[in-house]
Symmetry: C2
């Protein structure tokens, strides 16, 4: 007998072939229907969300966890707006990446196509269902969405509303699936269903992602964490460096592109560090420093070896004084997470050197690390950030949810 | 104490940063030195190869296996020519893929960079060492090459010669590594060294590749097998269809882009099948047919269910009569290996339908499946073929051995 996962993934694969047939107009109409349905059915969604919230409180889950789990009218509206925006983005499927006429008369084209079936594993944020369903549908991919059990009712409610909208828009097959069974065994089976799932995107904490990578037989695109760096070179504009360091740490400390370590050139340390300390004191940012830094600014904790690879996700920062750009680059490549790093400098050669040698998805000059983001890059949407090197690196937009196929057309050519 | 794999992979990572600093001119000079050194040291390489051959004979290894293992002057010359050709190819590293100026004045660029450290696992063909070392060096990647134990002495000999040439060309660090320890434990450790290896490319039989995927914690790009199809539509030009079918099956039956299954539209079956049988009889191609096909051409074996997904790699073919293009597409997506398929038709709409709905790396119209090849596509080189959908699909050339990074430059911008 066919098991739950076997049936689900086979159906998803079948849907992927149907989905690939829809025109852009059909897809965008459906996305607008989905956006409208969320608003129209907000009372139902909120009612189901309350079931999850009641259970979470009963199970004494953390306040910050419950805060992420909770929906309200504003959040539902935001989900709706996102879907409408995705509907308005340009089509990426079918785009010709390259085309050449070979000497034997064969035309070879490289054309963007959907990846197929994408499994998204996420923790308890019900908006992920509508965000991912929208982006995957727009790119003609079938999503299998597996949320944390704490948002079980909310996820199913959002699914029900969106599927109703798809139906009303004339889509007579299931274009995405929410996993309706809980338990780790189901996840394990999904991660081994390589025949019918093409890609896994885990969204959540490092522990979740490590587990997924360990178990999965399917390619995974991910980032574990964001240990981002700013290197203040000796020729840095001090005012700009201060503004950027504060912005990168303080504007939203809980996100992956916030800075965690600031590296300061020794020749600018005496001038820069006291000013930086003053700014960070004002913003209540706690500092962990190496010995050379601590010799310049007093009253800071000494950094432990493990601090250099810690993602604080909080108002805390590591600071180290380095002797030159090379030491900064070496430190970043050793302790960083290959996410986003920025050099603050007026020296063009050092900037080029930094951009070339730093082994990270996003390498910046004279801007805040917070710009590492699909919207800021002009991608129009973002399904996640990758610190992998394969397929997608850095912010992932619609194009990153596609693959390509090679098309060859001729009139009877055979291989000599 | 640092183990063998730990030390090897750490050294490889360190080399990757040094390699990334070489200019195109330095790399191409080194590649030409490598090409010359192979010819100059051919006696040494042949001597070492004979050690492997003697052992292989002593161990009663298969004749076809020994044939692949054996080097001679011609094969060494071919290895040398390949390196010289790679030297002549255009540089892909550093190429700007896209560039845009954001409204806030930040310039965002997507730039091609090396992947880093690539592990190639292969069976007993000593030429793979020089081919892969060359392509990886050209793209500024550090190769870790792990060949089958049967070619142990040959692989080390080729490594020694190539490393000597790199040294003579002024490269004062190891730019690629041949794994000098044998045993499965070493492979297992390598496949878990995700900190210092970015990509695994297994080259060999399906069993080897399945094992690698199962064990690896590092992304793997691969193709298991090539069950390629030709669909002869009812409007096919029969002469061309015959020529293409014979070419795709007979020209080189042992390769992955040879055809394994021919699907024939029922309305052309009576006319086409007897002519095809005659051609295949002449070329000694054995046929396995479904009932409808066997009703038209007598004296053929009946196909078993498993034949539809068999890669014969031999003068054998499966033939099935289908009622239309949709049935052909469904058959291909179900039984195929997502490698290469070709439709023979004069009907433009059917061709478009086929190109869109067949879920394979290479989809062709009116040409032989044998054209699925990096050189034929104009890529200049080929490190392998991927039936995966992530990162690279179909023939993989130099670009597929690169990733990208995002570069953002500004003058003090912070996130609002």
């Amino acid at each position: 007998m066919e098991g739950y996962v076997e049936k689900l993934t086979r159906q998803a694969r079948e849907s992927s072939y149907k989905l690939a047939r829809l025109t852009s107009a059909q897809k965008n109409k459906a996305l607008r229907f989905m956006a409208a349905a969320l608003l129209k059915n907000k009372d139902f969604i909120l009612k189901e969300n309350r079931k999850d919230l009641d259970l979470a409180r009963k199970n004494n889950l953390k306040k910050s966890f419950i805060e992420r789990l909770a929906l309200d009218e504003g959040r539902i509206k935001q989900m709706s707006v996102s879907l409408r925006e995705v509907a308005g983005l340009a089509e990426v499927v079918g785009k010709i990446i390259s085309s050449s006429l070979r000497p034997n008369g064969i035309r070879i084209q490289k054309v963007r196509v959907p990846i197929g079936v994408v499994l998204v594993i996420f923790e308890a944020r019900p908006n992920v269902v509508s965000d991912c369903a929208g982006l995957l549908f727009k790119t003609s991919n079938v999503g299998i969405l597996r949320g944390g059990s704490a948002s079980f009712y909310s996820n199913l409610a959002v699914q029900k509303v969106l599927n109703g909208a798809l139906n009303a828009a004339g889509i007579n097959f299931k274009a995405f699936f929410v996993v309706e069974k809980t338990g780790h065994k189901i996840v394990q089976e999904l991660l081994r269903a390589q025949e019918n799932i093409d890609l896994v995107i885990p969204r959540g904490g490092e522990a979740l992602i490590k587990k997924v990578v360990e178990i999965s037989h399917i390619p995974v695109i991910k980032h574990y964490k964001g240990v981002c760096h700013i290197f203040v070179d000796k020729t840095a504009d001090i005012k700009k460096a201060l503004k950027i360091a504060v912005n990168a740490k303080v504007q939203r400390p809980s996100v992956c592109n916030a800075v965690e370590t600031i590296l300061v050139h020794k020749d600018i340390a005496k001038k820069f560090l006291p000013l930086l300390k003053k700014e960070f004191d004002t913003c209540r940012v706690k500092i962990r420093a190496d010995a050379k830094t601590a010799a310049v600014i007093s009253g800071v904790k000494m950094a432990r070896e493990s601090d250099w690879s810690t993602e604080y996700l909080d108002l805390a920062v590591s600071i180290k004084t380095v002797k030159n750009a090379d030491e900064a680059i070496k430190h970043i490549n050793r302790y960083g997470s290959h996410h986003t790093e920025s050099i603050i400098t007026k020296n063009k050669k050092n900037a080029e050197h930094f951009l070339k040698e730093v082994d990270s998805a996003c390498c910046f000059v004279n801007i805040s690390t917070r710009f590492s983001d699909g919207y800021q890059f002009g991608l129009g949407a973002e399904i996640g950030i990758s610190t992998d090197k394969l397929h997608a690196r850095g912010p992932m937009g619609l194009e990153e949810l596609t693959t390509y196929k090679w098309i060859g057309t001729g009139n009877g050519q055979i291989r000599k």
